[in-house]
């Protein structure tokens, strides 16, 4: 996502950075490019126009043309404007972001429960899947959730939601079981079950109260914002249920019409949050940049994959950083925190300091890494790496192969990798379907990490440098040092990306 948009911005900044002094004309020319990039990203025309005008006004107002680092100043201005566009506070201290780690304004708690959450949106925007993701998220938070199938129109929508709920309960064992309310006998062909949905929702609410449910999620039928009858039905559900949250689910790949439908839903229902789905596509994110501006409703969550835990709270500041290729380290740290408890981390670092890390520890670390997301996703969060990765083909299988090798070792071998000699190496290679040299390399790197960790813990500065050297000579982190990345195009591209970062730091 946002790839092309990032490219557009980077081009402009690069051009401006390269010039010692810039004129007003340079700025307007650059903004013409930004404008095209935004329009091609499906950002709404009016939003683009306002955005570009504001940036130009800021630039002229601050007399950027007289600045010594015009490119740098431009980035700052554009970043501020982007944050505001995405619904954030541009004056927030970036250091503050670290304090908001793991926070999410979340789903409010009400007394008496349940909190009623109504989902709405166009057909195919991803409402049902998102219901499942929200339910999974709430379950993890320990809140008792019920999901109600209020989509009586689409064939098998009720079954779909039911299955999704079953999957949630099977995949996430932590937290209370998610309940399901559905009345398949009330389903009917398109347009024929209008108004039945209200009754179904009311019965779900009764049941939810009886069962002591904390959050009730209503999955309504997809509808076109131009279909009056169905919009009225939604209005009736709204009036009867008085939901605490109304989330509009929007496909991130929607074009210029995104704002029209969002506006129409907002006018009828006063939506209090937007959930953008399919963010893992290569959408250029126009909807994300337009919806907030036009409806005033903030983006609350983004869906980033087909798996039920692939939903993230939306942070405007972080997203603006990602768009401008500045990376998003805060999200990376947060992901790590979610997967590793402090206690485990402390235990492991102690073990490592004594040089006692085993292959099993290593394996569990690898698995943690994999749970955090695909390598490409993770690397994309590092500053400057995102643009380099654009054409790179990250070999996601590499970690899997290492895992296979470790799994082909005996318990003894895992605890004391030193005993692995040629015959054992051969057996491990055969067992894991890899080559002997690969096994050898793994062991060598493992050894290097262990040594490094020990000397790092023991020594001061000098020891650390030595340790780092040792690690570099062994080919870096296992997995990372192996040829994980194949660049499709020339390697020049990657190099250029690095240079670019360096330049900007001045």
């Amino acid at each position: 996502m946002f790839d092309r948009l990032s490219d557009g911005f980077n081009n402009v900044f690069r051009k401006l950075s390269g010039q010692g002094s810039i004129s007003e004309k340079n700025i307007t020319d650059a903004m013409a490019e930004v404008r095209t990039a935004l329009l091609e990203a499906d950002v709404h025309y009016d939003v683009v126009k306002a955005f570009c005008d504001e940036v130009v006004a800021d630039v002229l107002g601050r007399e950027v043309t007289k600045s010594l680092k015009p490119g740098q100043e431009m980035i700052g201005i554009v970043h501020r404007r982007l944050v505001a566009l995405l619904g954030g506070d541009p004056d927030a201290d970036p250091q503050e972001a670290l304090k908001t780690l793991g926070t999410d304004r979340g789903i409010m708690k009400v007394s008496p429960p349940p909190t009623v959450v109504m989902m709405c949106g166009l057909q195919g925007s991803g409402k049902t899947t998102t219901c499942g993701k929200l339910a999974a998220m709430l379950k993890k938070q320990g809140r008792k959730t019920m999901v109600c199938a209020a989509d009586l129109q689409r064939p098998a929508a009720i079954e779909q939601l039911h299955t999704v709920v079953e999957h949630v309960n099977k995949q996430f064992t932590q937290g209370p079981t998610v309940l399901f309310h559905g009345e398949p006998d009330k389903a009917a062909e398109y347009g024929k079950a209008v108004n039945v949905a209200v009754k179904v929702c009311q019965r779900a609410l009764d049941e939810a109260r009886q069962q002591g449910v904390d959050v009730l999620i209503l999955d309504t039928a997809g509808r076109l914002h131009v279909n009056d009858e169905l919009m009225t039905e939604l209005h009736l559900v709204n009036r009867a249920m008085m939901p605490h949250h109304i989330f509009l689910v929007v496909d991130a790949m929607t074009g210029q019409d995104a704002v029209n439908s969002a506006k129409a839903f907002h006018e009828r229902l006063t939506v209090d949050g937007v959930i953008l789905t399919k963010f893992d596509s290569d959408t250029r994110g126009g909807a994300a940049l337009s919806v907030k501006q036009v409806t005033g409703a903030p983006i609350r969550y983004i869906g980033v994959g087909e798996k039920l835990d692939q939903i993230e709270p939306f942070h405007p500041e972080r997203m603006a950083g990602r768009i401008l290729g500045m990376g998003d380290v805060v999200s990376l740290v947060e992901k790590a925190q979610q997967e590793v408890s402090e206690e485990d981390a402390a235990k492991l670092s102690e073990k490592m300091a004594r040089g006692e890390m085993t292959m099993d520890d290593f394996l569990s670390q690898l698995r943690t890494l994999r749970r955090m997301g695909s390598m490409k996703q993770l690397l994309g969060l590092l500053p400057g790496v995102g643009s380099m990765l654009k054409d790179a083909d990250v070999d996601e299988g590499q970690l899997k192969r290492i895992e296979a090798m470790i799994q082909s070792m005996t318990a003894e071998e895992r605890a004391h990798p030193k005993i692995i000699h040629a015959p054992r190496r051969r057996r491990i290679a055969e067992g894991s379907g890899s080559e002997q040299p690969a096994v050898g390399q793994l062991i060598k790197q493992f050894d290097a990490i262990n040594k490094m960790a020990k000397s790092m813990a023991g020594a001061g500065g000098a020891g650390r440098i030595a340790a780092a050297r040792q690690m570099a000579s062994a080919g870096g982190m296992p997995g990372m040092g192996l040829p994980m990345m194949k660049t499709k195009g020339s390697t020049k591209q990657a190099k250029r990306g690095v240079k670019q970062r360096k330049k900007r730091k001045h």
Partner: protein
């Protein structure tokens, strides 16, 4: 002529929304006004907002501006006529009919991203083929999404056709294999394969599509005879990337543009035309199985600009 009229009126009804905001807007904007720089800018904004795309809009606007300066275009009405002619001329002659097998079952593979409207579009296609007197069999290769098979089954019950299905979570290529065998042994005319929605950025899933395709080819010669990509008409310029990626992985031969009734943006049809050579073969303009139209650019533009 009567038939033609009814088709146009239906098409117009489906496109009502498109006409209302895009073209009716254009009309009221242009008719009775003198062409000037301000009007040209308004027009640019309107074209962009209809998802025509930046490139096409820039080309159109450049042309209009030049013609305005040379005095060839002076009134808003002239611009309207110019747009109509220009848009029509953008579609070369192309084969927009469905390809059928010379003998044995015709296999139609249906693909698209999540939520594009594949299953509903299949119901429409199925209904049309049945009306033409052909026997149809459906293959439920979407073994991934919960309820997908059931959704197809419900449509099949309503339309009176049979479905070949596999296990939830099973190998879709295996279902394709079974469906092809069944199509041959039952001697049906057309087999339509429904596939799971997938984002074109997911390489492994795109490769799976290639596999489904080659299974069909192995089982029935020349299959799939038609590979349709279902695009959501409300999708923006990302639709072009989808067409490109699915074209590569599945050898798309035609586009089914779904949900055209819900959008103010008939313009994406133009953008698709500019970016790919894949012909739009059908458009979906409503929720019932009969809301399907063959795409005819001439008529499409006429309907869009009708009063």
């Amino acid at each position: 002529m009567g038939l033609f009229k009814s088709v146009v009126s239906k098409l117009r009804k489906g496109l009502d929304r498109t006409r209302e905001t895009f073209v009716a807007g254009l009309r009221s904007m242009l008719v009775g006004r003198k062409l000037d720089e301000a009007l040209i800018e308004e027009l640019e904004s309107r074209l962009i907002q209809s998802d025509v795309g930046v490139r096409t809009t820039t080309a159109l606007i450049t042309q209009i501006r030049a013609d305005y300066k040379s005095g060839q275009l002076a009134r808003g009405e002239d611009v309207l006529e110019f747009l109509k002619a220009e848009l029509k001329s953008r579609w070369p002659e192309a084969d927009r009919t469905l390809h059928f097998a010379d003998a044995g079952p015709t296999v139609i593979l249906v693909t698209g991203v999540n939520g594009a409207g594949k299953t509903t579009s299949i119901a429409k296609l199925c209904s049309q083929l049945r009306n033409e007197g052909r026997t149809v069999l459906l293959g439920a290769c979407d073994t991934f999404r919960a309820g997908a098979v059931r959704q197809l089954e419900i449509w099949a019950e309503r339309l009176g056709v049979e479905v070949v299905k596999g296990q939830q979570g099973g190998d879709p290529a295996a279902v394709a294999f079974d469906a092809c065998s069944a199509a041959v042994s039952r001697g049906v005319d057309v087999l339509i394969l429904d596939t799971a929605g997938r984002l074109h950025t997911q390489d492994p899933l795109m490769r799976q599509l290639t596999k489904i395709r080659s299974v069909a080819t192995k089982k029935i010669e020349g299959a799939p005879h038609e590979t349709l990509l279902v695009l959501d008409a409300t999708a923006g310029q990302n639709a072009l990337r989808q067409a490109e990626e699915f074209g590569k992985a599945a050898g798309v031969t035609g586009i089914f543009l779904a949900k055209l009734d819900g959008t103010a943006k008939g313009g994406i049809v133009v953008a698709i035309r500019e970016a790919t050579n894949i012909p739009v073969k059908f458009i979906g303009v409503g929720e019932t199985p009969d809301d399907i139209e063959p795409f005819d650019p001439e008529r499409f533009v006429e309907a869009m600009f009708a009063e």
